[in-house]
């Protein structure tokens, strides 16, 4: 769904953007390009500059330097035109307390010159048909976020910008929201999503930008990102009596070990769980110690973030 015939191949093109608020350099030289139909995630801890970055894309803030184009167009002097290409939803929006879901959508629809049929369509899409006549103050957090998404979708925007839409939601509401977004993806929408939930980025998005201290510290598909970090896998274990580290070093595919309790509880970084795990079991059996805990997993975005920054994503 590309609404323009402009020369830019990108739905969003951000080039070397900087933004400073008083003493804080919120965004320090970010570039990213998003093709129409792509879903991308901007992942980072609180204060990484995610919200500032997306509000510049939304045209709420102007960058101090650098350029931003939306479907090849700059914000300056084309505000109204660009606003109609954009749907925006934020974390924790609240609405007019005593307006119903329908009235709220109806109000926003009037800003876009849409009416009746589209509102019913949206209410169906966000699955709030039974809450249509409920005051927004009586909606649950998850229902409010659906309504926020509904508002963002009223005018069928080719570009959706969602700033932490699922923060604080229970897993079920989060799932429901994801399903709505995946449906939109099939229809060709473009999505910029900020989140600090790595599953969300993993589940919804084609590509991921990891932002920290206003800079992009890694970018690519999930596989690319993991590969760049050595595509490691993890075996967490605990044993009933201490084992020597040298024994672990000899395991096939061994990369490193992180001790939580030296000799007794740790995390093995290995090339392939499949080849290391049997050897680990054999080694412990031979040494006469018993494995009391064992957990295997692939490296994920949290690990990736930790290995890039030395901090965890949700810190």
């Amino acid at each position: 769904m590309n609404p323009t015939t402009s020369d830019s191949p990108y739905a969003v093109d951000v080039q070397d953007v900087h933004k400073r608020f008083k003493s804080v350099q919120a965004v320090a030289g970010v570039s990213l390009s998003i093709r129409p139909g792509e879903f991308i995630a901007v992942l980072g801890p609180n204060g990484a500059g995610k919200t500032t970055l997306v509000s510049m894309i939304e045209g709420i803030h102007a960058p101090d330097s650098g350029s931003i184009t939306i479907f090849g167009k700059k914000w300056k002097k084309r505000e109204k035109e660009l606003r109609s290409l954009l749907g925006v939803a934020l974390q924790e929006t609240r609405f007019f307390d005593r307006a119903t879901v329908f009235e709220t959508l109806d109000l926003f629809a009037s800003f876009y010159h849409h009416d009746g049929p589209r509102i019913s369509e949206i209410i169906r899409l966000i699955d709030l048909e039974d809450k249509k006549n409920t005051y927004t103050m009586n909606l649950s957090h998850g229902q409010r976020q659906k309504l926020a998404l509904g508002i963002a979708l009223i005018h069928k925007p080719p570009l959706l910008i969602l700033d932490e839409p699922t923060t604080g939601l229970d897993p079920r509401s989060r799932r429901e929201l994801w399903e709505i977004l995946l449906d939109l993806k099939k229809q060709g929408s473009t999505l910029v999503l900020t989140t600090h939930y790595m599953e969300e980025a993993e589940y919804l998005c084609d590509r991921i930008y990891i932002l920290d201290h206003g800079r992009i510290i890694a970018r690519g598909t999930l596989d690319e990102l993991l590969q760049a970090q050595g595509m490691a896998e993890w075996i967490s274990f605990a044993v009933d009596s201490p084992i020597r580290e040298a024994r672990l070093n000899d395991l096939p595919g061994f990369l490193a070990v992180d001790w939580q309790i030296p000799g007794k509880r740790g995390c093995l970084k290995v090339q392939r769980i499949l080849s290391t795990l049997p050897a680990l079991q054999e080694m412990t059996a031979n040494a006469g110690v018993t494995l009391t805990e064992l957990e295997c997993r692939r490296m994920d975005l949290d690990d990736l973030f930790t290995s890039l920054t030395g901090r965890t994503l949700n810190e």
Binding site: K80, L90, R94, S110, Y135, A148
Partner: protein
Amino acid sequence: MSRSLRKLISLQFKEFYREPEVLFWALIFPILLAWLLGISFKGSGTQPHHVGIIPPVSPELSARIEQLKNPQGDRPPFRFQRIDAPAAALGLKRGEISLYIRENPADLSLEFSFDPANVTARLDSLLLEKEFIRKESASGVRFIPLTIQGTRYIDFLIPGLLAMGIMNSALWGIGWSLVELRIKKLLRIMAASPMDKRTFLLSRFTTRLILSGVEFLLIYLFARFYFQLPIQGSLVALLLIFASGNLAFAGIAFLLASRTQSNQVASGLINAVNMPMMLLSGIFFSYRNFPGWSQPLIRLLPLTRLTDSLRAIFNEGAGVAAVLPSFLVLTALGFLFFFIGLRLFKWY
């Protein structure tokens, strides 16, 4: 009127009437307040009417007034206080007595001194005149009209309450509610849509103007029929002052809401604006009791201007020409504050 504007306004009305408490505080409470204050300062039919009497008093008059202490027919009971002339003047101002009587020792004729604009006083003087003439012996009664500021307290109070209503309606209805929308991030969401920002602000002002008009009308009608408070001046002047007062306080409200991010700060700012004005601008009691040097400063306050203009229209029969300066100043203030606010305003 654009569809967005219509929807924005109708939604605000719905928000308003769907919250019964708001209806109470905005519409019923001011009337209750007016009633309560009016009642406590009015003095009704069955209560004694107080009259001052300045010595010397002839034994004859003394005997006569003794008979008036009890009610008779539809005549209320009278209480006479012997006081000197300055105390009598003060008593009139304070509403402690409605008129005072002086007897001429030479011919025993009587002088009634009172404010002709004060309905109670006029009534009392006529009643007393009838009483004294019926028991004819002396040589008649003379009425001495006095001009004293602040006749009935309710005449003084109602325009003040109306002015205060306009101020509070704007400060809370526009100022507070804008801050709330900002905290809810609803302003940001709306700013991210192609909504026309002027339409939005216009809708806020229009809604408030209508609501404050309803409030004004209700209080006025109540005062008109319950306390017999007429509008002596020009209705056009009243409309001009009402509109410009709303404009001035909408501008102030908009300015103080332009950046505020929290409820606490918003209520602090609103109180910082309305408390001093409520006390200084003579809503409940005349600011003429404040020290002389402070009077010019007090007159600079928009609420003082609004209150004084409303009082002039209600009680002094002011026309358009008399209130035109206030109309212009209030309108200009409104626009000034609005444009400063617009420069500072944050949508997120």
